[in-house]
């Protein structure tokens, strides 16, 4: 496969177990060497240790030195990365571990270790953040917090985030673009809204479904008490104006469908 990931935003890497997501991340981090082809990260080779300092990563379930506290773990990693005066307390607070900084890591739950892993990935203020299943083992509140953190990092601090997750709903909420791997190949790639554009439909609920269907003609299909219309987002305002000025009393108009899960299953199924 050939893949080019643009700087900025949150980029999702999706695929079934064994599709090659973790392998791809490990090659980017020089944990393993590719048998063929090459990878360029931030304009350089992953084997360049100076370049890797600009990357933060959390691959699979994080592992730590059991005799270090969370605070000491971050301090040690900051020293290793050459970061002077690392904001250890700030990052502990941002991942919700401000009250657990003095506890030894081997007492941590899985969710706490995931949070510490994210803080560890961010301690060097990286330009690129690679996260493999970052919310695995977290409670729903923690998942929401991490999602907000990722969007904040991408939008306000300009960090490029590569994210892999099996929680497709989470990916759809947080990512701008995705690539779908299937059996080591690239099944689909692009902006989520464009990939799903064909699936999305506008569901209209009117006082009179019959009048609405008559006005829409072949464009509308009944869906329970409403009507589904295959129309692009850019054409939707025109359509709505046409219906309203045409005497249709609309109660509700909302977008439905366009689910990443459905698209993903179709792509993986085609690749199989």
């Amino acid at each position: 496969m050939s893949l080019a990931i643009p700087r900025g935003g949150v980029y999702g890497i999706l695929g079934a177990n064994g599709a090659g997501k973790s392998t791809f991340f490990r090659i980017c981090l020089d944990l393993i060497r590719p048998t063929d082809g090459g990878v360029s990260v931030l304009g350089g080779a992953p084997s360049d240790a100076g370049l890797r300092r600009r990357i933060g990563a959390m691959i699979e379930t994080p592992r730590y030195h059991p005799f270090l506290t969370a605070r000491e773990t971050l301090a040690m990693l900051a020293r290793l990365s050459g970061v002077k005066d690392a904001p250890v307390e700030r990052w502990l607070a941002r991942v919700g571990l401000e009250n657990a900084g003095g506890r030894r890591v081997h007492h941590f739950s899985v969710g706490m270790k995931q949070r510490l892993g994210i803080a560890a990935a961010l301690i060097g203020a990286p330009e690129l953040l690679i996260l493999d299943e970052p919310t695995s083992g977290m409670d729903p509140v923690g998942i929401q917090e991490m999602r907000a953190l990722m969007r904040e990092l991408a939008e306000k601090e300009g960090v490029t985030i590569l994210l892999s997750s099996h929680l497709l709903d989470e990916v759809q909420r947080v990512c701008d673009r995705v690539a779908i791997f299937a059996r080591g190949r690239l099944a689909a790639e692009g902006r989520i809204d464009l990939l799903l554009a064909g699936q999305e439909k506008l569901r209209l609920l009117a006082v009179s479904q019959a009048a609405l269907l008559a006005k829409l003609g072949a464009r509308g299909t009944p869906d329970g008490d409403g009507v589904l219309v295959a129309v692009g987002r850019s054409e939707a305002p025109v359509l709505l104006r046409e219906l309203i000025t045409g005497g249709i009393d609309l109660i509700e108009a909302r977008w439905v469908g366009g689910r990443l899960e459905q698209f993903y299953l179709e792509q993986v199924g085609h690749a199989g």
Binding site: I32, M76, S81
Partner: protein, 271 residues
Amino acid sequence: MLADAVAAETYKVLRQRGGLFWGFCAVPLSVLLFNLMLDTWIGTRSPLPLALDFGQQVVRSLALGGNPIFQIFFIAGAVSIFSGEYRWETWRLLTPRNSRANLMAAKVILYAALTGLSLAALGAAGALHTLYAAALGARVALPGVDFPLTALGSSLASWAELLLLGLFVALVAILSRAMIGPLIAAISFAFAQAMALLILGAASAAPHWFAVFPGMSAWYLRAWMTGTEIAPGIFAQTALAALCGLFLLGWIGFLATAALLLFQRQDLTRE
């Protein structure tokens, strides 16, 4: 970058109190306590019959780095440093932040520094117990003019031998990705050399090939540097001592290079 790796490794090891104590503090502490207890026991029961030579006591303490029993502790310290990342699967946490060469070099540097400090403490233990014995009434001879050189020579030979053992542990740790393997292999290596030394006996009867064994080389080099008899009336020869020194350096270079090359190419997706 290397400085960062050394700083991080130092920070980590200083918090690994068990490995730090048993690997590098237990030997000088136990030697000191044992000698103090012995001096006290002898001093309280009868006047100390022999005169102690301050220089000899220090040099003998420094030579304890070649004792296989004490080497077990240094081996344990080396295992805690070189095998830890495999044990806790933490290489994936460290390798993205610094080069593999620097990460491994930092461990070697720290092990060498801790070993050096431990040997210095051993020498200090020899000095302290001699002074204590003097305070209890023993006759203590002051060191001769050659003391600094012999002390330095003894400590360098011991340090080289311990460094070699540490690098052996590093190599086996990389190959085995475990803690038990390097521990048992290094202890076996140390004891095998001690047995070889006993079996070969007087070096004057041994051919030059024994210098290939690092433990033998260190022993011979130490004997030459301190002017100690290797057999009754027989002293170490300069030419053979130089050969032993070269072999020691060769062993250290070989083990360090092999460990580094293997680690550079190692697949760390499974640790």
